[in-house]
Point group: C2
Chain length 335, copies 2
């Protein structure tokens, strides 16, 4: 069958909202619309942005006559009530109890599925990205925090409380740096973009010279809280010693985390995604090297560690696929 | 059907070998035989002990007329080639390339299944112990080292290279204590019985008073390499400060590991086993408390953490069940 089918995917992150109409038979994005989230303006503002962007993407897609979307899927950076389609809590989005299924269902009259951002991105990579062909793998995203989606026997595995894959909160340095979760020594406190930013800014505040002293300070003054991947990449290219040191340190911790997962879960592959992974070869390569020294010899030799393929679109493609699944669509390579 | 069926299980550990005839319809041990392993006497000696003990258990079982065993199962503390039924490498047993399936198949003329000790123990707990009723859980054993068996969707999950569950080699203190595996900061280097022994003996060597100064030194001189659980339990009961301190420290590290697993894998339950867990309430309770402070709130509140139920017999029961499964027996609560 070569018939096409479409769904609308929405990637709701702390920095930006991206909506896209996706051909879910190929994983291709037909049309998309994006804007900054501006979480600081409050929940109603964010709700309105979501519906605006969804409409804009749908209009831009100009679906052929008679074609319609199967459903609407959302991946949101927060805790989700999957059944009710509600974002329970999302500190980075300034959102609490947002009834997205009701909101978007009312607007489009289609089934709505809401998932965690990392989960839906893992689903996207499974169906149309670097996870194709694997039945048991883990897809790890490094950004503001560090999270993962676990695909187990061809299905998203969410665990007892729906929170499986919170690998940012594995202890990597017992009793170490305090983490946002309240525990100490979590991977996220050492290897996220937030952690890299803190390490760099602390040194700059103490007078250490760096190409980032101006760039990063300027960007942070503009209201962003962490240094952008592009700025880090540029500083590394210009051989800025402080940036190289901070990124290498974070990469080594990330490698300890990856090696630990290879030992604990022994997945068929590890997929790494997120802007900072895409932008920084130094981070990716150092982490992979460290992971292979930490892991036991079997997994160290045999586990593929690859970058995510869908890039910025992994969230919307995954969200659209989740919507299609919820609407009853059967993907050929899923069980 | 109330008909009984039997299999022979062998638990091959660094300290002792235990063979038992198990009624695999109930998980009950019908008869057993045990001896010290004496790995230092070499591989041929260990082979001979295994066949002697297997015969002794079978003789002692006095199976009713016409009844026979379905097969022979072995759980061994080492790296296993599951298909060939060979122990590839087991440093604690002084064993390398031991063809157990051929050896025991030749002796008894029955199917033989060989698995890792921790895997088969997890299978035993799943079918007849603390894992009954759970489909996704992890069964962790603390002893000379720390290992785990993962039951996923009702089946043992062994991973890409057959080594899933090596949680003793998750990094808990990046760059920390050297571990037997060659990496640094592994959980096993902080929370195993070996680690507890080292911590205690180091202090004693530096002159710190302890009730263990005589007991432990005597036991270690007799050729054992780590302090027995019973000796530790006794010292704690007598409020020996050094022992309490060392066990509490190990328990806290173990708790960081458990909390990390609750965050990463979010299992339906965690089962803890091994002699030191059975013998030391202080270790178990401190680790559980720490785990619940490390884990995110959902899993912290909801994940049952319980002790293994089959005790010393988890290995032989699991090994016998593995043999029965291999011989085609269908357990009612497995899928």
């Amino acid at each position: 069958m070569s018939e096409k089918a479409y769904a609308l995917g929405i990637d709701l992150g702390g920095t930006k909202i991206l909506a896209a109409v996706v051909d879910i038979t190929s994983g291709e994005v037909v049309a998309s619309a994006r804007k900054r989230t501006r979480a600081e303006r409050g929940q109603d503002y964010v709700s309105q942005r979501i519906t605006e962007l969804a409409t804009a993407a749908l209009d831009a897609a100009k679906l052929p006559n008679g074609e319609s979307i199967l459903g609407v899927g959302v991946g949101a950076a927060g805790q989700i009530d999957h059944k009710a389609g509600v974002i329970l809590d999302a500190p980075n989005l300034g959102v609490h109890n947002m009834p997205l299924a009701a909101l978007l269902g009312g607007q489009f009259g289609k089934p709505v599925a809401v998932g965690n951002d990392v989960e839906v991105a893992a689903l996207g990579e499974y169906l149309y990205g670097a996870g194709k062909g694997y039945k048991n793998f883990i897809c790890i995203f490094v950004g503001t925090g560090i999270g993962a989606g676990i695909v187990q026997d061809g299905h998203l595995y969410t665990g007892l409380t729906g929170t499986a894959g919170e690998i940012g909160h594995m202890t990597i340095q017992a009793g170490g740096r305090i983490c946002g979760c309240g525990s100490r020594g979590c991977l996220e406190a050492y290897a996220s973009r937030t952690a890299i930013t803190r390490a760099i800014m602390a040194e700059i505040h103490h007078g250490r010279p760096s190409l980032l002293a101006d760039d990063a300070a300027k960007q942070l003054k503009e209201g962003e809280t962490i240094i952008r991947s592009g700025i880090l990449a540029n500083a590394i290219q210009q051989k800025d010693e402080l940036t190289i040191e901070a990124v290498t340190e974070a990469a080594n911790y990330l490698g300890y985390g990856l090696g630990s997962i290879m030992n604990i879960y022994n997945p068929e592959s590890i997929i790494l995604g997120g802007g900072v992974i895409e932008a920084l070869d130094l981070l990716f390569e150092t982490a992979v090297h460290r992971a292979r020294t930490v892991a036991l010899s079997g997994p160290a030799k045999k586990t593929p560690i690859v970058r995510a393929k869908l890039g910025d679109f992994s969230g919307v493609v995954g969200a659209a696929c989740l919507a299609a699944q919820t609407a009853g669509y059967q993907f050929p390579n899923s069980k």
